[in-house]
């Protein structure tokens, strides 16, 4: 695939695959991330053979938590990005193909919603719904992330609507839905793919941040963000409890962004 043409993209894909692999084999190879074997003596142990990354404040194995947390973060990031792209694409394409008053209304609404800082919006929801489950968090992440995608999709679609190909299709009586799916969507697909890939990194960072604040993934489900939060108080004595999840998160986000850039380059008409 052209996306994996450069070594950077290959490394990025490999990194994400490694995290996925780690999460997959963890149940067989690593201890239970939820188990608390020795709450008193096993706390905050340094890296050792039995605990490659040490243990946390509740004596849970950090590597196991890292693996499980990775699975959670990746899943949340991916699903949220997909929701955001789907929503943004739908709204952008609809606005462009309908045009006129509806277009203005949709885009103005988009502008309005985009003015709310993403973290603020989700925290607001968390304050109103303290027991928010994971699926709701993912939905909220998606619902707060589609604005840029909508603008890009609409912009591209508006441009396409002026092309001869589309003017001909509409002159021949193609209905709105048909126009969207058969003509606009395939041409915008590239941009949507890029938006999804880049959105994964953003969503992961945001989820981690929310978990860090205690408003994201709820304990005892591990998340890299909440692991960093837990490790914050023992920074001097057990730095690995903070370093490991932070490094993992950084690597995963950078990998996702790198893949996003690779997808963008693959679709860029100038490099085709």
């Amino acid at each position: 695939m052209k996306v994996l043409a450069t070594p950077g993209a290959r490394v990025a894909a490999g990194t994400l695959a490694a995290f996925a692999l780690l999460a997959a084999i963890a149940p067989w190879v690593l201890p239970d991330p939820y188990a608390i074997p020795d709450a008193i003596g096993g706390r905050l142990l340094g890296p050792s053979l039995s605990h490659p990354l040490g243990t946390d404040a509740l004596s849970r194995d950090l590597l196991a938590r890292l693996a499980r947390g990775g699975a959670v973060s990746l899943q949340v990031g991916l699903m949220a990005a997909l929701i955001a792209t789907a929503l943004g694409g739908a709204i952008g394409l609809t606005a462009a193909s309908v045009g006129g008053g509806w277009d203005t209304v949709l885009m103005r609404t988009t502008d309005g919603l985009a003015s709310v800082p993403r973290a603020f919006a989700i925290l607001f929801a968390a304050a109103a719904w303290p027991t928010m489950p994971l699926w709701a968090l993912i939905l909220l992440l998606g619902v707060t992330g589609w604005y840029a995608v909508a603008r890009i999709a609409r912009g591209e679609a508006v441009r396409l609507m002026q092309t001869d190909a589309l003017l001909a299709a509409r002159a021949l009586g193609a209905g709105r839905v048909r126009v969207i799916f058969r003509h606009l969507l395939p041409n915008v697909a590239g941009q949507l793919a890029v938006a999804t890939a880049l959105g994964v990194g953003e969503a992961m960072l945001l989820e981690a941040g929310l978990s860090f604040l205690g408003a994201g993934v709820r304990p005892p489900v591990p998340s890299w963000g909440s692991m960093i939060h837990d490790g914050k108080d023992v920074l001097l004595t057990a730095p690995w409890a903070t370093l490991a999840p932070g490094l993992a998160l950084t690597c995963a986000v950078l990998a996702a962004n790198r893949i996003g850039d690779a997808v963008r380059d693959a679709f860029d008409p100038r490099t085709r």
């Binding site: 103005r108 609404t109 502008d111 309005g112 919603l113 985009a114 003015s115 709310v116 800082p117 993403r118 973290a119 603020f120 919006a121 925290l123 607001f124 929801a125 968390a126 304050a127 109103a128 719904w129 303290p130 027991t131 928010m132 840029a148 990194g201 960072l205 945001l206 981690a208 941040g209 860090f212 604040l213 205690g214 408003a215 963000g225 960093i228 914050k232 920074l235 001097l236 730095p239 903070t242 932070g246 998160l249 950084t250 986000v253 950078l254 962004n257």
Partner: protein
């Protein structure tokens, strides 16, 4: 000009109104009663909160009450603190303004200066590695970077404070300068964290804009009349490339505020973001609402300023 100002201001107010409506709508979709934690408060307080934030009234009525409360400076009482919401906002707004403004200025200055220099050397080793470094910094979780900086500067080297905005041990009659220095010392790490993780966004845009501008015909004309290369870069390429940065402001401002929430919490910087985060754990719905609407207002205002700046800097926009 004044006509444009009025129109644009009205547009901003409408944008904010749309956001506020959407947020109030969102909260109605969520299960449970956000004011449940107010059960132990005295009845008059509960009533006023119900008027401003209650969900069993029609949306428009609530909006009406809220905007009136906003204009009269009465947004109810904080469930967690027992103090008026407006008071809390007033106390926590300045630190966020200070942090936000200093980050904004720094990011813009770096983006303009470094973006131009990198554009002149586009494709070179310096350019590629600098961009890589900045993009990596952008991928770092700001709260994690903050913790690392605290670990290094405050715990290991002990040259900067670990958090807060002032030293609680400062003597009551310390001079203004000493106080300012104290705040500056506390500001440094949160400022550094936000600046480093965020600078690539405006920088990337400006660099691309300058690269494009360097290919422009008028740049060729400037060279043809003997303008020194340095001036070609700044006066002709960079100056004409200012508009894209300002257009990005609308996307970039919400990102700064999102980062601010995390950084303020990490450093116990008592700003609006910190207040927002605290209100979540404390089930303090009135404060959360006020914070999110204020954050939105800040973004809308920033957008307005960016549009104004664009109008002033680029003579073509005014036509």
């Amino acid at each position: 000009m004044s006509r444009w100002l009025l129109r644009r201001a009205a547009q901003g107010a409408l944008t904010w109104g749309i956001a506020a409506t959407a947020l109030f709508l969102l909260v109605r979709l969520l299960p449970g009663d956000p004011l449940a934690s107010a059960a132990d408060l005295p009845p008059e307080t509960r009533d006023s909160l119900a008027r401003l934030y209650g969900l069993d009234q029609p949306l428009l009525t609530q909006l009406h009450h809220f905007v009136r409360g906003l204009l009269h400076g009465d947004l109810g009482v904080s469930i967690l603190h027992g103090r008026p919401v407006t008071e809390l906002i007033r106390d926590h707004l300045p630190p966020t303004l200070l942090l936000g403004a200093s980050v904004l200025v720094a990011d813009l200055a770096i983006a303009l200066w470094l973006g131009t220099r990198l554009a002149a050397r586009a494709g070179s080793v310096t350019d590629r590695w600098t961009m890589r470094a900045l993009l990596t910094a952008h991928g770092l979780p700001p709260f994690w970077l903050g913790l690392l900086l605290v670990w290094l500067f405050a715990l290991v080297w002990r040259i900067l404070p670990a958090g807060g905005i002032t030293d609680p041990m400062l003597h009551a009659d310390t001079g203004l300068l000493a106080r300012a220095v104290d705040v500056a010392r506390h500001l440094f790490l949160p400022w550094l964290t936000l600046t480093l993780t965020g600078v690539v966004v405006p920088l990337r845009h400006h660099r691309e804009a300058v690269i494009e501008a360097l290919d422009a015909d008028w740049v060729r004309s400037a060279r043809a009349r003997g303008v020194p290369e340095g001036e070609v870069l700044t006066r002709h390429a960079s100056r004409a490339a200012l508009t894209p940065i300002l257009m990005v402001a609308g996307l970039w401002l919400p990102m700064i505020l999102t980062g601010a929430v995390l950084v303020e919490t990490t450093f116990a910087w008592p700003g609006l973001g910190w207040l927002m985060a605290e209100s979540v754990g404390g089930r303090d719905y009135p404060v959360a609402t006020a914070c999110v609407l204020l954050g939105t207002a800040a973004v809308v205002f920033g957008s307005f300023v960016a549009d104004l700046a664009q109008r002033l800097l680029d003579p073509r926009v005014a036509e």
